[in-house]
């Protein structure tokens, strides 16, 4: 297993070389620009909007990294034929999959951590320099970390999806499938009550089955609750995080199996 961290660090270094972290500059400009403009547009809702914007941007930027880097983790190695030199080393194939995954999760983790610091910095600036406040939740609310933590786990899940698809399909198709699953996962709650509106009972059962198979990504979205100062119990956080970990494992196991059986000749 010592190969896994080694591969992960290399993936992280590669993402730095690929200038993935340039998105942080865009994030910083977006937040700083918004903190200046929003005060003049929103009739006193500055803090809510900066929180909404910061949390949503963390998710969206992370999503782009998860999908577009995730789908290339395996396929790029194959295209560049560097996979052969990797396979020639005393490394198991499943270790390559896990290492690649861990590397991208590390990249996303660092990204989310820096964005979190930037969001708190902008909120601190708004509180102390501009004197804005909020009646719903504290400006520098520690509960924001709950939303950011679940966003990170959601991004890890999307990364696992992208990696899973990339082990057996082309990059373009992998991106389409991952994005499709992401959208379906965000809307999966609607499937639960489909049998109430469908005339066919078989159709309703299929919808129910799809509901249980799709990742429930909306469960990771507690941004609105946190911004409005509503409680997000620790039990909810723990169960949602555990669900995410299980789902990620359920994706990485077949990804490793498929990759192990794949013929690269």
């Amino acid at each position: 297993m010592t190969a896994v961290p080694w591969i992960a660090v290399n993936v992280f270094r590669e993402s730095i070389r690929d200038k993935v972290f340039y998105n942080l500059v865009a994030f910083a400009i977006l937040l700083m620009g918004a903190s200046y403009l929003i005060g003049q547009l929103t009739a006193g809702q500055d803090v809510k909007m900066i929180k909404d914007l910061g949390l949503a941007a963390t998710s969206v930027f992370g999503l782009f990294i998860a999908i577009f880097i995730g789908i290339g983790l395996v396929s790029k190695e194959v295209e560049r034929r560097s996979i052969y030199s990797l396979l020639a080393k005393p490394v198991d194939r499943y270790q390559i999959v896990l290492g690649k995954y861990a590397g991208l999760v590390l990249t996303i983790g660092v990204n989310v951590a820096i964005m979190t610091v930037a969001l708190y910095a902008v909120l601190a600036y708004m509180q102390w320099a501009l004197g804005v406040g909020s009646s719903e939740a504290p400006v520098l609310d520690p509960a924001l970390l709950k939303a950011l933590g679940l966003t990170f786990i959601e991004l890890c899940l999307v990364t696992a999806l992208a990696l899973f698809f990339s082990t057996f399909s082309t990059p373009l198709l992998s991106a389409a499938l991952t994005f499709g699953f992401f959208v379906a996962g965000r809307l999966s709650n609607d499937l639960r009550n489909f049998d109430d509106v469908m005339q066919s009972s078989a159709g309703g059962r299929v919808a129910q089955a799809v509901y249980w198979v799709l990742p429930h990504l909306e469960a990771f979205n507690v941004r609105a609750q946190v911004v409005h100062g509503q409680p997000v119990p620790v039990a909810y956080l723990a169960m949602t995080a555990a669900y995410g970990v299980l789902y990620i494992a359920a994706l990485l196991v077949p990804a490793a199996v498929i990759f192990s059986r794949r013929d690269f000749k």
């Binding site: 547009l41 009739a43 006193g44 909404d52 914007l53 998710s59 809307l187 609105a224």
Partner: protein, 291 residues
């Protein structure tokens, strides 16, 4: 270096051309503001989990719609309710949107949309989402009181609000006063002061401040009218200088600092520049509960 200069020159040329086109060949920009998506549920699905951010966008649009029409002196706000409805469907806990709607949907033209029914509908939507939010219940009472002049209904809503958790202690007495003396200037003032105290943003506070200044102006105009009448009866120690009310050389100004005017018939009214017009009792206004 050469590339940078070339890019700079080309960008400057493009911007210059744009400026010339805007000045000389601008297309007509008159078009109706349109809402392309009117279903909050559909919009919620489309936003795939970023509904709160979309609510912020619709909130900004509602403010722009209202503010833009105000600046343009247009008193028609056809999109105000749909925009606030979308905002609150996308983010059902967007408190300011309900409270903003309660004031500016209910207020008659030119200050608002003149639709107290929609103001109440929006607040009732808020109560469905947050049944313990006493502020929304008070706001419905306020709409009945101020814009519908239905003091019995208003008192019933204040009474209902008083039973909710965290409701302020003054609500039961306000319900009783409204029922007993609904419509007088003192209870109107109390109402606006209560709204101002519970306001959590500058727009609502500003609206309450303006209403309180209007009530103060009405009191001052009554006093001034008495002075004018007395002076006129005593042979005219009072004088009119370019219609500006002056007593003993002192210009009498309204709460915004604009001098009151006295017409040739000796009637006191607000100066033409005053932003407090129209006052609740003036013709054309439906804000008539003050006596």
């Amino acid at each position: 270096m050469l590339t940078a200069v070339a890019v700079g020159v080309l960008m400057a040329a493009a911007a210059g051309l744009q400026l010339v086109r805007e000045r000389t060949a601008a297309l007509s920009n008159q078009h109706e503001e349109t809402l392309y998506l009117t279903s909050g549920k559909a919009l919620r699905a489309i936003t795939i989990g970023y509904a709160a951010l979309a609510a912020d966008v619709y909130w900004i649009r509602a403010i722009q719609h209202f503010g833009g029409k105000h600046v343009g002196r247009t008193s028609d706000f056809p999109l105000l309710y749909p925009l606030l409805d979308l905002t609150t469907t996308l983010d059902p806990h967007f408190s300011i949107a309900y409270r903003f709607g309660s004031i500016f949907l209910g207020e008659p033209s030119p200050g608002g949309a003149g639709r107290p029914d929609l103001a109440i509908a929006l607040l009732q939507k808020g109560i469905r989402e947050m049944p313990d939010k006493w502020e929304y219940v008070v706001d419905i009472g306020f709409v009945h009181y101020w814009w519908r002049h239905d003091f019995v209904e208003a008192a019933a809503w204040f009474e209902r609000a008083s039973h909710l958790p965290k409701a302020p202690s003054w609500l039961p007495s306000m319900a009783a006063t409204t029922l007993a003396r609904g419509g007088d200037r003192a209870s109107s003032r109390r109402m606006w002061e209560a709204l101002r105290e519970s306001a959590d943003n500058d727009w609502l506070r500003g609206s309450a401040d303006r209403a309180l200044m209007q009530l103060r102006a009405l009191d001052e105009m009554d006093q001034l009218q008495q002075v004018v009448n007395r002076m006129a009866a005593n042979g005219g120690a009072f004088r009119i200088t370019g219609q500006v009310a002056q007593i003993n050389g002192r210009v009498i100004v309204d709460p915004t600092g604009v001098p009151y005017e006295v017409d040739t018939a000796g009637r006191v009214h607000l100066g033409k520049q005053s932003t407090l017009a129209p006052l609740p009792t003036q013709a054309g206004s439906q804000n008539a509960p003050v006596s």
